[in-house]
């Protein structure tokens, strides 16, 4: 047995757990009459995000998430859909990042982001049960209580509590991301999972603004054991506003010397038909890290890019 085979065979427990986890995820959605969909990995125009780079593929791009195609399905009248697929983001490689990773994305029509928080609580509990686990997650010597309801804290509250600057000041001085990573994230989801919600409007590219406070976007992120696990929006369905935000993001990309992407016109054309809805993307590899009690994302996938 060579070095490579030996390393692969040592991952057997983690790979089996991962497969069982994905089966449990499918069972959870199928039991609620969700439609499992598949959308193309290679697309002509990814959503322009200031800090996410797509991998070029024969004149088009590998998708960075399936959101544009899935929202077109919503527009066409598919109310509850989910997908488990590979996504690609250029240059993202670290202990918790892979340039090719597995995302679970699901959408519900007729609800806002609060319903997705309840979905998360039920999904993780259901996956834990499917793996024969109790309601307490043991991870790196910590015990994380999965009993709902989980903690809900706004971004402004979290910055006020944990960071030396307020969320809006941090954003204004271009220190939001740094403080999020250094001061806020280490404190999130330590004893039980937490939803960090209501981001400053500028940080919710495809999210609806809060009707009662348009300085905030209806976006949340789920954290367990300081690990960022999922990102959710109440979906923006205003095509004009969406086009304005895409233009702003494209402009920001140009100023940072990042690649330009074509405008996803078919998506914008169908956006006005998208019903009030909410959507969420959850990192399957990271969820596997939690259930497999691992700190490195490489431990829960068969091949890291460097092993190919």
């Amino acid at each position: 047995m060579g070095e490579g085979e030996w390393r692969l065979s040592a991952k057997a427990d983690a790979l089996q757990l991962r497969a069982a986890m994905i089966r449990a995820i499918r069972r959870f959605f199928l039991a609620q009459d969700f439609l499992e969909v598949e959308t193309p990995l290679r697309i002509p125009a990814p959503a322009p995000e200031p800090h996410i780079d797509a991998v070029p593929a024969d004149g088009w791009f590998l998708h960075t998430s399936p959101e544009l195609c899935m929202k077109r399905l919503l527009a066409a009248g598919y109310p509850n859909i989910f997908q488990i697929c590979r996504c690609f983001r250029a240059g993202e490689r670290g202990a918790r990042h892979l340039p090719e990773f597995t995302l679970l994305e699901w959408y519900r029509a007729g609800v806002d982001y609060r319903a997705l928080m309840e979905d998360c609580e039920a999904l993780i509990a259901s996956v834990a049960a499917g793996l024969g686990r109790s309601g307490v997650l043991a991870w790196q010597g910590r015990r994380i209580d999965l009993t709902p309801p989980w903690e809900r804290i706004t971004v402004r509250e979290a910055f006020a509590r944990y960071a030396p600057l307020g969320a809006d000041e941090a954003l204004g001085s271009n220190r939001f991301d740094e403080l999020m990573v250094d001061a806020v994230e280490p404190r999130l989801g330590v004893d039980r999972p937490v939803f960090l919600y209501d981001y400053p409007a500028a940080l919710g590219a495809l999210a609806r603004l809060k009707p009662e406070d348009p300085s905030l976007a209806e976006r949340f992120e789920l954290y367990i054991a300081s690990l960022e696990l999922a990102n959710a929006f109440s979906e923006l369905t205003d095509a004009r506003e969406q086009r304005r935000r895409f233009t702003a993001a494209a402009c920001e990309r140009r100023q940072a010397n990042r690649a330009a992407y074509p405008v996803p016109e078919p998506f914008l054309a169908s956006l006005s038909l998208v019903p009030p809805s909410a959507g969420i993307a959850l990192g399957v590899d990271r969820l596997a890290m939690l259930f497999a009690d691992r700190t490195a994302i490489d431990a829960v996938i068969a091949f890291a890019p460097e092993e190919l």
């Binding site: 995000e49 200031p50 800090h51 996410i52 240059g91 993202e92 490689r93 670290g94 202990a95 918790r96 990042h97 939001f176 991301d177 740094e178 999020m180 990573v181 994230e185 940080l203 590219a205 992120e221 960022e228 990102n231 940072a256």
Partner: protein
Amino acid sequence: MYTASDLRKGLRIKIESDPYIITEFNFVKPGKGQALYRCKLKNMINGNQFERTFRSVDVFEAADLQEKKMQYLYKEEGKYCFMDNQTYEQVFLSDEQVGEAKNFLLDNLEVEILFFEDRPLGISLPNFIEVTVTKADPWAKGDSVSGNTKPVTVQTGYVLQVPPFIEEGEKIRIDTRSGEYLTRVKG
């Protein structure tokens, strides 16, 4: 020039006129936010260490480092002298700069000296060297209590563990990266 996405453990960059080596590297990226490249850096001249977080817009100059083949001549007043056999240029390295390599510095050994802009910084040895054992306890045959290895001293003064059958005056091969015994060299 390097960009932040080139950063990795072991990369050597120039910051404010000094060469630094990245000793720890971590990529972090919050949510849909910007990528942050957390590095622990060590100054290759004075050994000072610090942590710094870079962003994707940061660019770096490569440290102008060159390795040159030189021969070890002698040690005098705490300085190790090396000579370029082509140009007869001589350079001196301190104890600190030579570090663990002093255990394997045989007279006339050919080594690589690392230079930063004409200034010698450190040394890299050949992976394997052959040395003579200068001090070894005799092998008590059949003595299984004393274990599988015994300590010996070699000509550089270095002490290491070897199999019990190695005797004084013999030549052995050492892996300079681990400092461990490899084989007996039949002379």
